[in-house]
Subunit: 228 residues, 2 copies
DNA sequence: GGATAATGGATAACGCTATTATCCATTCTG
DNA sequence: CAGAATGGATAATAGCGTTATCCATTATCC
């Protein structure tokens, strides 16, 4: 299958396909000549997956590549795939590196990222066995720190019930992953369950919030863009 | 307080403050002269909030503005604030408008966005009373559609247990919002609980996932960037 | 009161990333 | 053999957040 057909079957323009090839998130086709390559069904699947992660989920191209690499890398070891996938920073806002340091008090320029201790308390209290490199820990720490700075009275203890629900959720997640299908399909499924489900979960929470909110406070309809 | 001091107290550079003023997410200071304005503590708080939403959470400037407007607009009506806040599309990937139509089969070019029926089934089954304009519905629909397209065997029934957990979560959320403090502080708190908590919740899920994963599959440590 | 630095305001430059377009030599198609 | 399509690289575009540049005006301090 040539690139034009690949484009037709996936609805992705040819230059964009080339871009993905360049960035390494779409494996190159089997070269049949200096300017001809052959693509297969795998490419179609992979391309659809890319478009889903980049489009439906807000993942950046880089993050997407990491995930895809994880799939192809550790196909046999599902836990490894999970590990790599979990290590990928979600789209945005769940982790960020050399941030502009919004802290006006740069005291104790050491290695204590502000909320880490509390995050560890939370993890310890839950009895979770997680590797120290998991970026999610840092995310929790940052959110705790931000909440603290802004003076919301929310500390790690307030998050405990949330953590318990997260635990239940993870149970559900892992239950979706019991081995069916070949390893590759399984790895892909792991990615979908882990990554693609995230916006849906947040959306479900928002729906539930609106429901509870309208029950608690007035029943006025105030969600859309229209006023009054 | 002049802009320079505002900058010093928040760690935000002056040009960036100007930018926020321009974009309307930071209310202008009280003008004392043609080229002098006076800022107060409110501006400090607001600015910190902005930096938190933009930085720690990945919100775009536009979305942040909507939220802030919601706070200042409906301070008395907490449900309204919630409504507006819930209507804001999270960071990315939970909603997207003129998408490149990754569907190779553009049949029935009507008004059926692909997964909406299933999403409504889910909402109905949960007995949720949500306004039809809530974008979260569309988000759920899109994710369901994507999952369907990719052939993961996950339909709205698979999401039911997740929805129940989301319901519990919303209970927790609303419990955090019982009236203490003035309306403005309350509205701000609502935003924090609703929006800022999101990355933390996802992170908690990931932590729990790693924990369960290492219990189920091998106990090998595979989360960080290091190999083997 | 007069020199210097800071302010507000607008406008442009920058960096980053995803997407799209342009060339070109080569190769398939008919 | 002619024309269209391919792969490859490179550049143009667009959106966004951030940073820098000018400038007239105004505070600040000697």
């Amino acid at each position: 299958m040539k690139v034009s057909e690949l484009s037709r079957r996936t609805g992705v323009q040819v230059p964009l396909i080339k871009y993905y090839l360049r960035e390494g998130m779409l494996p190159p086709g089997r070269a049949t000549a200096a300017n001809q390559a052959d693509y297969g069904e795998d490419h179609v699947r992979r391309l659809r997956l890319i478009r889903t992660l980049v489009g439906t989920r807000g993942l950046s191209a880089g993050a997407t590549k990491e995930i895809l690499d994880a799939i192809t890398a550790g196909q046999e070891d599902l836990h490894q795939v999970l590990g790599i996938v979990l290590g990928v920073r979600p789209a945005k806002g769940t982790d960020h590196e050399p941030s502009p340091d919004p802290d006006p008090a740069p005291e104790a320029s050491g290695s204590a990222p502000e909320g880490l201790a509390e995050a560890h308390s939370l993890i310890g209290e839950m009895g979770w066995d997680v590797s120290p490199g998991n970026p999610a820990t840092r995310t929790v720490a940052e959110v705790l720190a931000a909440l603290d700075h802004l003076g919301a009275g929310i500390d790690w203890r307030s998050l405990l019930p949330y953590a318990r629900l997260a635990d239940d959720m993870a149970e559900l997640d892992l239950r979706q992953l019991d081995g069916k299908g070949d390893p590759l399909a399984q790895a892909e499924r792991a990615v979908l369950v882990t990554v693609l489900l995230e916006p849906a979960l947040l959306a479900l929470r928002r729906l539930a919030q609106e429901d509870k909110s309208s029950r608690l406070f007035g029943g006025a309809r105030t969600t859309g863009t229209d006023e009054a």
